[in-house]
Amino acid sequence: MAAQRKRLNTATLVLLPFWAVVLAAYVGTMLWTVQISFTASKLLPVDEYVGFAQYERLFGSTRWSVSMQNAVIFGVLFIGGALVLGFLLAVVLDQRVRFENTLRTVFLYPYAMSFIVTGLIWQWLMNPGLGIQKAVRDWGFTSFDFAWAVDRDMAIYALVLAGLWQASGLVMALMLAGLRGVDEEIWKASRIDGIPAWRVYLFVIVPMLRPLIVTAVVLLAISVVKAFDLVVALTNGGPGISSDMPAKFVMDNLFTRQNIGLATAAATVMLITVAAVLVPWIYTEYFRKARVGGTA
């Protein structure tokens, strides 16, 4: 018993520096963010408190509401799309197709590219004068339209497309890993029962992959909330403000517009939104089943 106590103490001790980092960097920044959002800070923080004035400004801003709408559109399409596409690719690769290794690399390599590079490439591909549109029109399909990045109705989908290109491979890798772990017995049994493969995938396999799907959603959601580089490189929020996103709103106000107060208010709203959506879900996913360990 005494030895056990000692070991537990080691674990507690090991966690101390992590607590320090988490408190100083994460909790500290969160508190700082909330505090500054109640001040009149411009380029540099000041302690002139103005109540909810920054929040009033924030919610009075068309640009912020457009950003939030775009975050929802982008978030749903990007996360949903990457999950579906990634899963399909994984299923396909799991069918013993030829050149599996090559294909896996082909699907995965975009994840090695930063969002900035992703944005640059797709901006070029969607450039009406130089990109795919011109090439296809030169082939004779003169009504072909792929200038999404310069079209205010399509710009947000341009971001989704580029995002899918970059991130679907990661989901594919996660799902493929999961499929490789599926017990062969399940397939045997389902074949004996004559259940079509797609039903097995949908109703048996997908639930089994749940932990992986959760991981994928967390990773994808983080990139949605932080979508800044991609937006800047591909559309820069335009045309107009049609493809603006919250992270870009925050960044613009932090430096260019010298509005730390407004920027932190926006970040606070983002954090609360994320917390409201994700905390209950993460809680059930990660903490519901308390593991047996440690003191066992």
Partner: protein
Amino acid sequence: MSTETATPRGPHAESARLAFDRGERDRGERPTSRGTTREGTTARGRKPKTLTIGRIGLYGFVVVAAAFFLLPAVVMVLTSLKSMPEIRDGSIFALPQSLDLSAWAKAWSSACTGLDCEGIRVGFWNSVIITVPSTIASIAAGALLGYALSFWRVKGADILFAVLLLGAFLPYQIFLYPMVRAFSMVGLYNTLSCIVIVHVIFGLPIMTLIFRNFYAGLPVELFNAARVDGGGFFRIFWNVMLPMSTPILIVAAILQITNIWNDFILGLVFAGRDNLPMTVQLNNVVNSTYGEREYNLNMAATILTAAVPLLVYFVSGRWFVRGIAAGAVKG
């Protein structure tokens, strides 16, 4: 440390197999195990050899998907090899008339980024110097924390993890100001250690997440047995857990090398003038247009900057899936 850990390769292979063959399921892609399932049971829903409509559809999908994923890379490489008149007048899909590597040479060694005209190679070693210690340190931190969270019941550990996950959702620009202040207070601002610590802090949520998931998939009996043998916190970590962690270590390394190598704003703000990473040079090359935009130069510079993470993926792509497979699914 004990003698077994002196040669990590041996024991790790052993225990990795142990982990794979735990009897629950076969997760490996190792040729042997795949081979047996393939030939032995012809398991998956469809039979591969006959050419059914489904099979044609399957390959159709593969071809379209591969085209979608490959298209940008193909266009980039083609463009980087063309001359400017070719780019202006030709189709983006056209093959270059001659193999012109001058854009690559220029991007690497003579493109101007301000008054220095030494190309993006200046930042290459800086990026290496930043990436190597940051990757190692952040993986070490994530592995240790993930292990502690999975096997040791420590008060408040769940809260720690929840805060970390939540923190991952703050736009990182918000961190800049408080962090600059904090680092300058302790006199570290604008140094190599500064940027390494920053990368460790920002890498912590995801690293912890994947290691925690991995260790959660290992059987508790393993841990309990080690405890019975009198293993302490670090001894169990070092002698039991770490040797089994190779697959997930590879995944973590791939993710972190990519993230850290690709970072721009943190490097710009925290690394200091003498340690600016390659992405800063890339930004200077790509955004410093004068007259006609030199697309061939931009593309070459972009590919060169992305070369390291790309290489990592090409070399270790197979390990990536295997690594996730080894730790990921739990029933």
